[in-house]
Symmetry: C2
Subunit: 408 residues, 2 copies
């Protein structure tokens, strides 16, 4: 008998019919004797409907009232799911975020959880009830309703699992686990039985949108076993684990992540003196443009080239800033390219294995793919290439690191 | 400078456009220097939409979860109205029932208000903010969300006005006041400037659906001046007042109420002995059938006839019960008629004036209208007549009591 926190997202509860299916699933676990806390999102489309209503009134509605408005979405779902459980003879009780008392700071629309009072939930579990909690929302010290921002239901589930010392936090989604890479690009992409928190973080931030990054960080920090599963298909999913240092069988590379949302900008021929990098990046960050990769190579003749990537939506804005800067810095030229893609290999095994990067570069060179930028961290190597080679690059790397085969 | 509690119902906030109009109205009062607490219902149609979702799952959903579900309706409105006020530069803050702390008993879907904590609202008013409160909802001692039942937003408004000692509680509706009778039946029906709480209660329970009865009782009990006004038309509305004993100008009859929702049942020739009335009514009330008028005349030969009215929807059910009873009581026969109407004259002036009933009966007899049942209270006389004479009866009474003319 285990204590499970199960989270179902907006698509999984997107209609009364699906809510009934979720209730059926929960009932089965309950029948096995597990204690269950369910966390649910708003029915898909509902949050957008509410935001549209607000935007009919104001383009940027007051954050406090926005939270009052959108938090109704999950409140509807918890009530309907409890009814569907009652229909099946399963004792259940719903809680909004404020009712649990999920205490957050007062940063409306992007609040952070400070504390969870698990007193009510524990009492219900002891009484044999399934507890259904509204994800994504909490309450601040003054009693104002807050929300954790989009995708915050994952964070609610993980935080509840930590507070309740649950045996597992199960995130039900529309995929049956985490894959070595996107199966739409590589046919032989394989579901991973396990992946470490660090790898998952790298995979998530690189565009594998299975889990919200914050919830993975949170799970890692509080040591909550996290599992990704399919809402309506049977299967073991992927367990996200603490790295096991003793595990010699750790594969070198666990997966290939990629994205094509970025654009590349270069300001060439700037003076190679201290303070230039910050002179370039400050106006970019002041304009609220997030920078991802940054590369500066060793210069020549006291001059150097400075390259970075931004989201494609910010390409034109960033380019205009650099053109302005280039006069001030007497730079040679500003170059830009928004037809690029980033491909990364991720794996904690890299730490103890040399030669991973060179194997990656060789695989790409065999296919005649030119590498435009390189950036590395302890457990990942990312390259920027011409967008048109993206699928080819991912397939060749997937094959080079033998990701289709299950490690022994 | 007055403290006003203003309540806007579902139709008045039925679209973003109407919410903006309400905000405009509130802004004008605010500009005059009044302190304003606004109570709103769910946008029209929203409560029914939520109930339909629940009914897709269960015919009789759990009451606790029903309250969690439907209370989201008003929560959406308070957020949108605050945004519309902010857009106009009016400082405003929203409160759900639980956030105010409108404490109720735990009778889900039909809870009663026990106490209101006005601490938060007072602080906001002192800070110059408009306070927007979700009607219809509260919270019980254990923190469960409760609702006051349909139309409960009126009750919320009156209870808040009492707790805050407001100068006036204004109920905005789709009519511009309380009329001497339904203007669709009598062209010359006149809006009353004032009406007493008692008269309003009789008018409301007899089918003038302007205000919820509970809210009128509440206002009378706590001496809250209540005014009914039109949401989107200018005008003084009707003020509902405490009866002024010194007012010699009190009209004898204030209005004519009527309804055609009832049916009449007679069990004839039952033994005229103690206990028969309760023997007849107990099984009816056990079947959850509400009885309105009850008439039993002096009997003859130790036998009597017993007549009462029920809602037309319950006619067949009540008839079946009486047929069953008639054997047991050895009654002569059971008669029924669902083509009846009830017409009543209402007025606190009746107390001190004799001859009001006879004037009523005379007016009906002049038109050849036969009276089937009569029932009286201190401030009203009701008669049951053939449904087809309803309009004629109302018009002739309206004219006989000179209701089109404003009293001197």
């Amino acid at each position: 008998m285990a204590l499970l926190v199960q989270k179902f997202g907006g698509t999984s509860v997107g209609s009364v019919d699906r809510i009934e299916k979720v209730a059926e699933k929960v009932r089965k676990f309950r029948d096995q004797g597990d204690d269950i806390v369910v966390v649910v999102s708003a029915m898909s489309g509902e949050t957008n409907r509410l935001i549209s209503l607000a935007n009919e009134i104001m383009e940027e509605p007051t954050a406090r009232e926005m939270d009052v408005l959108v938090s109704t979405g999950e409140q509807v779902t918890i009530a309907l799911l409890c009814m569907a459980l009652h229909k099946r003879g399963v004792a259940a009780r719903s809680y909004t975020g404020p009712q649990v008392r999920i205490l957050t700071d007062d940063s409306h629309t992007k609040a952070r959880i400070l504390d969870i009072d698990n007193h009510n939930i524990q009492a219900d579990l002891s009484a044999g009830r399934v507890v259904v909690v509204a994800g994504f929302q909490g309450v601040d010290e003054s009693g104002n309703i807050t929300t954790l921002g989009r995708g915050g239901s994952d964070t609610t589930a993980v935080a509840l699992a930590a507070a309740l010392k649950a045996d597992e936090c199960q995130i039900y989604t529309d995929v049956d686990g985490v894959y070595t890479t996107d199966p739409r690009v590589v046919d032989s992409a394989r579901r991973l039985d396990t992946i470490t928190f660090e790898e998952m973080l790298e995979m998530a931030s690189l565009g594998s949108k299975v889990l919200q990054i914050r919830s993975v960080e949170f799970a890692g920090k509080y040591n909550v076993p996290l599992r990704v599963l399919h809402s309506f298909q049977e299967g073991p999913g992927t367990l996200i684990t603490i790295e096991d240092d003793d595990n010699m069988e750790q594969p070198i590379v666990s997966g290939i992540a990629f994205n094509r949302d970025e654009a590349k900008l270069t300001i060439a021929g700037v003076p190679d003196i201290p303070g230039v990098a910050s002179k370039i990046l400050k106006p970019v960050s002041d304009a609220n443009i997030e920078v991802d990769m940054i590369v500066q190579n060793v210069g020549a003749d006291n001059h150097t080239d400075f390259t970075f990537t931004v989201h494609r939506n910010d390409f034109k804005k960033a380019q205009a800033i650099l053109v302005r800067l280039s006069e001030e810095l007497e730079a040679k030229e500003v170059k830009g390219d928004d037809k690029i893609a980033k491909v990364s290999i991720v794996g904690v095994g890299m730490r103890s294995h040399a030669g991973v990067a060179s194997k990656m570069f060789e695989a790409l060179s065999v296919e005649g793919i030119n590498i435009q930028m390189i950036s590395t961290s302890e457990i990942k190597v990312s390259v920027v290439i011409d967008e048109k080679y993206l699928e080819l690059a991912v397939r060749s790397l997937h094959s080079a690191f033998e990701l289709s085969e299950k490690p022994a």
